[in-house]
């Protein structure tokens, strides 16, 4: 998947601040001076403690919330400028909320997924083609198309909800904890599907997650939020290398990172710390083979 940092193709956040309930007793500075460039085709893991501003941030990206100060540019245009087409922005920046299955409402899976494109007033043929392409992309199997969304399992419902957003043909797909409440296999299936959507669909993915193991495995860039600010921004390797800083803000590194550190302290000469299981396996096998000779 090609990643491009051409600013005309990107989402740019420039000194974005957001204050809830300004001037009231409940005033809260939810975002503080956020500066980010989100390149086309990136797979970003957005992490942070509950209340760190992750959800507020993603709601800015598709214009659900407007910044109190600062600017957000999508493909070079200020999304808060008068005359900017917010409706189009919302189809181009798709947001899959937490527990998205609570938002299913139609009588069949196909109708539910078609709701978005239908609302955009597209011709019927385009609605149908978009709907089926989205169902396929989200990995909903064909025998479920005419089922009631309420009869499906948790993992299937979630795919249908993701298909509903994909049907709008977004450039950027934001998923807010898409694995919450799923069992381990269901979690892996959804994440593998998201990786596939990223690889094949030429889309930017922003994955909001509490699981360090998951973001380490799938994302190529991590943005860590703390009290409304960007605490750090880098590759999983860079971010988890500073796991002691993460612990100070209530987060942690994947278990294999702690393991590499413990092994090194016990005298095992690993070249660096691992962040994924695969990497830990490679490092240890190399160490083992080097040691036996």
């Amino acid at each position: 998947m090609e990643t491009t940092r051409d600013l005309q193709e990107c989402m740019v956040l420039d000194h974005v601040n957001y204050v809830y309930g300004e001037g009231t007793a409940y005033e809260k500075h939810a975002l503080r001076d956020i500066n980010l460039v989100i390149g086309k085709g990136e797979f970003i893991g957005l992490i942070g403690h509950t209340g760190s501003g992750k959800s507020t941030l993603v709601q800015h990206l598709n214009g659900l919330i407007a910044p109190t100060s600062g600017h957000i540019y999508y493909r070079g245009n200020d999304i808060c400028a008068a005359g900017f087409n917010k409706k189009e922005l919302r189809s181009k920046v798709g947001l899959v909320f937490q527990y998205p299955e609570h938002q299913l409402f139609e009588t069949t899976v196909v109708k539910d997924v078609a709701f978005g494109p239908k609302n955009m007033g597209l011709p019927q043929l385009e609605i149908d083609m978009g709907t089926f392409a989205a169902l396929k992309e989200a990995g909903v199997s064909e025998e479920l198309y005419d089922a009631s969304p309420f009869e499906l399992s948790g993992g299937q419902k979630r795919r249908v909800a993701i298909a509903g957003v994909l049907a709008m043909q977004p450039d950027i797909l934001i998923l807010d904890e898409p694995t919450a409440g799923l069992d381990p296999r269901g979690r892996d299936e959804i994440l593998d599907r998201i990786a596939q959507i990223h690889a094949e669909g030429n889309r930017t993915i922003i994955l909001v997650s509490h699981s360090m193991e998951d973001v380490a495995k799938y994302a190529s860039r991590l943005i860590v939020m703390k009290e409304g600010s960007v605490f750090c921004d880098g590759t999983p390797k860079e971010v988890f290398e500073a796991y002691k800083d993460l612990e100070k803000i209530g987060l942690a590194a994947p278990q294999v990172t702690y393991l590499s550190e413990a092994l090194r302290q016990a005298g095992v000469a690993l070249p660096h710390n691992a962040t994924t299981l695969e990497e830990a396996k490679e490092l240890l096998l190399a160490d083992w083979k080097g040691g036996i000779r």
Partner: protein, 293 residues
């Protein structure tokens, strides 16, 4: 001699779906011949993927569901005996997944007092119990706070305090951390272990987070309504492939040790922690490594 706290004997439960005329459309056997026993003071975890029947077992224990066949005993009282219903619910308290569905009062201490007040405990005794319960879960500092300003983990601890105020012999927790962030999960698990060790409360924990069961006395794995594995955490986690077959997961270090063993590194089975892994790896390396082969 050990005393039995909970016991299910050949428990069968069927969900029966009927059409509009009341004719049986579909029978789903959610539990199939489940026999299990939990001794007083034990900490037992039930693992299983979504739909494996683990929550259905939990709902039988405090008589929210009644067996289709077989029987369930709490403190040797039969849950189908309506005379004992209140005593059973008093001795086996239940904590659910979503903390927001379990809190009803506007002040923390009133929420905790709700249970004992309802069963006619004298006022002075109620306040004593509220004090003790909030201390047991580490929430005394918040006793006059509003529950809706608390974090998920704190709310869940208040819900647990509400159960503790009923002086139960046993607490059943049905995925109590599924909706919490990592910090909230840690808080709740620490509280549950303390109740077990310090207050001697019997714990039945239902979860699919593997790292939450490694400190349990015993683990039961369910699949398709049946008990399929039973043993100490170490015995259970020695069987990585079998667990994966039941749509479950193992901690990263357990899987890594297992993967290395498959590649010929003589790691022992059932590694549960970073410390165990480090000790085992350095030991096998000292034995076989550094040119000794």
């Amino acid at each position: 001699m050990k005393k039995s706290m909970l016991r299910t004997k050949n428990l069968v439960f069927e969900y029966i779906r009927r059409d509009e005329e009341g004719n049986v459309e579909d029978i789903l056997r959610a539990l199939d011949d489940v026999s299990l026993e939990v001794q007083k003071g034990e900490f037992v975890a039930i693992l299983g993927h979504n739909g494996s029947g683990k929550s259905t077992v939990a709902k039988h224990i405090n008589a929210l569901l009644s067996p289709t066949e077989g029987a369930v005993f709490v403190n040797d009282m039969d849950t189908q005996d309506e005379e004992h219903l209140w005593d059973i619910r008093k001795s086996a308290g239940m904590v659910f997944q979503n903390p927001d569905n379990q809190i009803i009062a506007t002040v923390v201490e009133e929420d905790v007092a709700f249970g004992p007040e309802n069963v006619g405990v004298p006022t002075e005794e109620i306040w004593r119990r509220v004090e003790e319960s909030l201390t047991a879960v580490g929430m005394t500092a918040y006793r006059t706070h509003s529950p809706n300003k608390l974090s998920g983990g704190q709310k869940q601890r208040v819900a647990i305090a509400g159960i503790m105020a009923m002086r139960p012999d046993c607490i059943i927790l049905d995925e109590p951390t599924a909706m919490l962030d990592p910090v909230g999960r840690k808080e709740v698990m620490k509280t549950v272990h303390e109740l077990n060790k310090i207050e001697g409360v019997t714990i039945l924990l239902i979860t699919h987070y593997m790292d939450e069961v490694i400190d349990a006395d015993r683990v039961i794995v369910m699949d398709e309504g049946k008990i399929v594995m039973q043993g100490t955490p170490r015995q259970i986690f020695s069987q990585v492939d079998k667990l994966k077959g039941y749509r479950l997961d193992v901690p990263q270090v357990t899987e890594l040790a297992y993967e290395l063993k498959k590649q010929g590194v003589p790691m022992p089975d059932g590694i549960l922690t970073v410390e165990e892994f480090t000790a085992a790896y350095t030991a096998v390396k000292a034995k076989y490594g550094q040119g000794s082969v």
